[in-house]
Symmetry: C2
Subunit: 412 residues, 2 copies
């Protein structure tokens, strides 16, 4: 978490970090600025010191809301730097970066760079800056960066943000269940008042509206997949599909705070009216594994590798193929047990095949637990997912409660 930053910088031998890009929909910048509206900012932190935020003068009120030490970019007169750069706009931009770094006394050592931004601009600026400041090693971390590592454990304020998204999630899921129940069935599909079949696209449009009404956003979309689509973990569902009774519907919703902040991640599997025998059996197996993992395996300091191995064991014992027994299988249990969640939907720790020795359920992590089974050729799939928090005392907390029930009752 944020309080670990200096220690992590020391471990990674970083003397400074620089974060760039807008403050919204940019996890590493949001982490420091808390969701204010900055079109473009630069945040620089020396190890052992507070960060400094450089902002555009038009956005001074927003910058002030962060409570960070901040400096207006108006202090750096572009025309003067342009003159110094002989009229070269790119070089002038680089000279301003150099001056900002000098002004916060960063001209040597190792500096990591972070944030989401245009690739060409980043490469152009930082390769030129590297030449101007040969004593300063500019470091681009390609995998599991220092900031991603800091973000792996959450402080209580961050958990409150995630919990709030959890509350909106279960409200939206409840409204969706009520909306489906409010329809009648005809010829095996849900129909509207006028007698026309309801479609997956219409359900998703309603879900999007409720998410907005409750004050969140949904930049990554929602999975609402029925039948064969439910059997393909990456299918988001087909808008023209009808709501057919008895078939499995995988409903996976991963909303975000408005402005690009914290997420929640949640999945239920539903059958409308009744479940086919096959669907019920599939659900029973996933529920059994979900309960076994949640009750017996998910505990503080459990390694991600072990959790995935145990999930594989349990599904294999029930007679299902897994991607451990056959890496190319598209049937059975074909993905990881879960993943860290925060400003990105997918963070660390990893609880799947990519888990390393670093991926453990430490105090402070927020992760999803999402066992599932997929049989596309049999037209079905099932996943049950909740987001959990490993509290500072080591207790495990599901951050939003919602029944695991399979059947949504429908009037004939």
């Amino acid at each position: 978490m944020k309080s670990d930053l200096d220690a992590l910088m020391e471990t990674k031998d970083l003397d400074a970090i620089l974060v760039t890009g807008p403050a919204q929909h940019n996890p590493d910048m949001f982490y420091f600025t808390g969701g204010i509206h900055l079109t473009q900012g630069t945040l620089i932190k020396k190890r052992g010191e507070e960060p400094v935020l450089f902002y555009s003068p038009m956005e001074r009120d927003e910058a002030a809301k962060t409570g960070l030490k901040s400096i207006s970019s108006a202090e750096y007169n572009f025309q003067e730097f342009l003159k110094e750069a002989g009229g070269d706009v790119s070089q002038a931009t680089v000279l301003i970066y150099k001056k900002k770094l000098e002004d916060v006394s960063i001209t040597s050592g190792r500096m990591g760079i972070y944030g989401m931004r245009d690739v060409g601009i980043v490469f152009g600026i930082f390769t030129a800056l590297q030449k101007l400041l040969p004593e300063l090693e500019i470091v681009g971390e390609v995998s599991y960066s220092m900031l991603l590592e800091a973000r792996t454990t959450k402080d209580t304020e961050e958990v409150e943000h995630i919990r709030a998204m959890g509350q909106i999630t279960v409200e939206v899921v409840g409204r969706t269940a009520d909306f489906l129940k409010s329809h009648k069935a005809k010829d095996g599909v849900l129909v509207k008042e006028e007698g026309q079949a309801l479609t997956v696209g219409e359900v998703k449009r309603k879900i999007d509206m409720w998410i907005v009404e409750l004050g969140a956003e949904n930049p990554h979309g929602t999975i609402f997949a029925i039948g064969r689509d439910a059997g393909v973990p990456h299918s988001v569902g087909t808008p023209e599909d009808y709501l057919r009774l008895g078939e499995t519907i995988v409903f996976d919703i991963f909303i975000q705070e408005k402005g690009g902040g914290y997420h929640y991640d949640f999945t239920r599997t539903w059958c409308l009216g009744h479940a086919t025998e096959q669907a019920q059996a599939l659900y029973d197996d996933v529920l059994a594994v979900y309960r076994q993992i949640m009750d017996q395996e998910v505990k503080v300091n459990a390694p991600g590798k072990l959790l995935q191995a145990r999930t594989n064991d349990l599904f294999e014992e029930l007679g299902h193929p897994t991607s451990r027994t056959d890496p190319k299988t598209q049937e059975g249990y074909v993905h990881g047990l879960g993943h860290g969640l925060g400003l990105d939907v997918h963070e660390r720790p990893a609880l799947g095949a990519t888990a390393t020795d670093k991926d453990i359920l430490r105090q402070g992590v927020v992760v999803t637990i999402e066992p599932g089974l997929y049989y596309p050729e049999r037209g079905m799939g099932c996943r049950l997912e909740d987001t959990i928090y490993v509290q500072p005392d080591g207790k495990i907390e599901i951050l939003a409660d919602y029944p695991l029930d399979l059947i949504i009752p429908i009037e004939d």
Copy 2:
């Protein structure tokens, strides 16, 4: 436009381009892939050849929708590259990029890189790649990149996307006007059925819901600013504000296609019930300049610099300060006349202070025209904005029609 790519690459002496990042909410990648769902892709194009898209095998159906020549990343076995890299994950990633470039015969010349992505990953990968391929110069364009220049003119298919967002925009604006009209006034503010005052936050929530209902998204938010906020061009409005009669409301809406595609940009200024004398005079001046510019100045091949100069002339003739007469003024006409619009809200050509000789109303450009006046200390501001298209025959077309009226009638 896209058909200019090879010529522009030649002008910029680029033998190849590489675009990276997701396919959604990533303008340069969206430009080639048209809004499919790719979590992470790499597109490489040699000058004079068709682009090649590298995709994750799980997203093969999405990649196929593009109609592009495409190659699955499964062709590049990570474990083998990891072995070659001596277990170094970052180096293995770099080796895969190198192999992909070799497989499309790009190992020398100049290659520009584009897209939105994590800064550390980009810098780490491409500085290492540059060392491995010394014959290939990797180019990061810091300002007005080749792709931004291609995107400056739109083909008819792109214009249809923008026009569709224009239709949704005017529908939402019409609903907003009707919603305001459906309220009564009490003690000088709009009130709800229960007698409580309506707030700006409630209006914005409605706007967000209609945008979603009509199938678009609103990732950048909406400006709905009344009184003093209307006098500050960058204020998005205060959620707790009441809807006070007679004061100017600046309503600036810039929605985007769902999945991060094309935008529309549109502003009206409204007074509820009646306008104060000052507000009416302010509006009359902005409307006069809007009409003069639209009718007399906006024509094919008009230079952006000239359009801004004429707008300054007109406002100054009416007795208003401008940022030309006083660069630090916060009163009068304080911004540019407009900007190109497409996959980004702000593209080229620029029609303001930053306009260069390249910024002209060529056939195919889509730009906003948005004169405005701001008097924060007098508690008012006014802006009128439409998005126009310079057709291939040179005719100017406003892409979505909506009345310019100031007054929204309100029952007492």
